[in-house]
Symmetry: C2
Subunit: 262 residues, 2 copies
């Protein structure tokens, strides 16, 4: 078994860096061979655009999907993207390790999705969801958030944590991955006072221990539910009688309950 | 009145470019002075990291919030970010014009948020939400999506459109903006066949006309609802008896309904 950890933090010595180490060690114990994409260390360019397509199929008007598809067909995808795709192809388990910035992924990781998930290679109009390129493989988001843990609840100031990881989860489900429950390290902002430092030190150690446990028990965790290709009609709507299965059903139910309870 | 349009598409001649033109013209008719941040044309660097802080307050360990706060306090924010902040400061209305890529904003726009919304300047732990820096000003997301319109419904293959604009909407609400209902141009993928080209040409013209109408009637549109600073307790949870007011309550209710109806 092989795992790829995509690491998107500018500071190797950050708490994200510690979680990366936890994953490397724990997965090693489980018998995984591990690989890292350290996006900052690689100086990965996250900006999708014409500069990556020296030989354009539409020289006068740049469209990302059109150029991606043509580059895939002519085997001239840029070298940095090709290297990332080769890592994905080798990995049975994909982990994205990142700090939540503005309720989303850091730009360098967003651009990794924009550029590496190439139309015509990683997905097509018929190779998606349960028929996706990486069907049968698993993906896990490990996310750190500075705000207090309680604020990421449905009735919290920051809103349900699950809402903010949904776009990335759904992106990976789109290309076929089975999505494992995300691992959230909440309340990990930099401490200020001495008392905070002591409290935070213990909290971070607890998060690391919980993450180790999360990884050791991955096989027993029910993945998130998504609808399958066959559930939708030709307009992209669910066939009658089919239940909405996605990570949001749960989040939505939680929030509706919070709204009615308060 | 002054408006700032942040434009995040690599192709000036794209449909996003046409919507930018619609906004410039329509807002001009309404008496706005307009400014553009064309992120691709500016070659805006979206990667937040140590390279932007030549004089670090913590030289050995990079933390984005810590360095942002220190740079703001010492008035040494990098010139490209300072220019964007000055544009924000001048604008009564902020429009983000972008294509939805992987259920989110393109990386170049994500990085604009990561870098320009500087901790210690644009927000602090007490200057947020209804007490935010840009309280009293308005923001609008204008988003294009390639998939068929029906697929962005609560029971659609792509899920509720409102879910994918939530992280960016909430980010702008966090720094004080009043968030206007987003404008969605759905089903705007590049046409392939001649019949598709005719159909798409009419559809795009319809989207432009709807956008013009959306802008002409902004003042009559009810903004999205968000909870206020005073609604939360010290743990970031809603005080008892306070209703959850955010863009998701509605989306969640829609999805719950879709789930129970099918």
């Amino acid at each position: 078994m092989r795992a790829l950890i995509v690491f998107a933090n500018p500071e190797p010595d950050s708490f994200n860096g510690r979680l990366r180490t936890v994953a490397l060690e724990t997965l090693g114990e489980l018998g995984y061979e591990t690989e890292i994409s350290d996006l900052y260390a690689q100086r990965f360019d996250p900006v999708e655009g014409p500069q990556h397509y020296p030989s354009r199929c539409q020289p006068n008007r740049f469209n990302a999907q059109t150029e991606q598809e043509a580059a895939a067909a002519r085997s001239c995808i840029s070298a940095d993207v090709r290297a990332e795709i080769e890592k994905l192809n080798r990995a049975d388990l994909l982990i994205l390790q990142y700090p939540m910035w503005w309720y989303s992924v850091p730009a360098i990781l967003k651009g990794w999705l924009d550029r590496v998930l190439v139309y015509g290679s990683i997905y097509t109009t018929t190779m998606r969801y349960d028929k996706g390129r990486y069907a049968g493989r698993r993906a896990l988001l490990s996310v750190t958030c500075g705000g207090p843990a309680g604020s990421y609840a449905a009735d919290g100031r920051n809103g349900d944590f699950n809402l903010f990881v949904w776009p990335t989860s759904y992106t990976l489900a789109y290309i076929g991955y089975t999505i494992l429950p995300p691992f959230a390290s909440l309340g990990v902002a930099a401490p200020v006072t001495a008392a905070q430092i002591t409290g935070v030190t213990k909290h971070l150690a607890d998060c690391e221990a919980r993450y180790r446990q999360h990884l050791l028990t991955l096989d027993s965790r029910a993945p998130l539910q998504f609808n399958k290709w066959g559930d939708w009609d030709q307009h992209g709507r669910l066939h009658g009688g089919v239940t909405v299965h996605n990570a949001f059903s749960r989040a939505h139910a939680d929030l509706a309950q919070a709204g009615s309870a308060s």
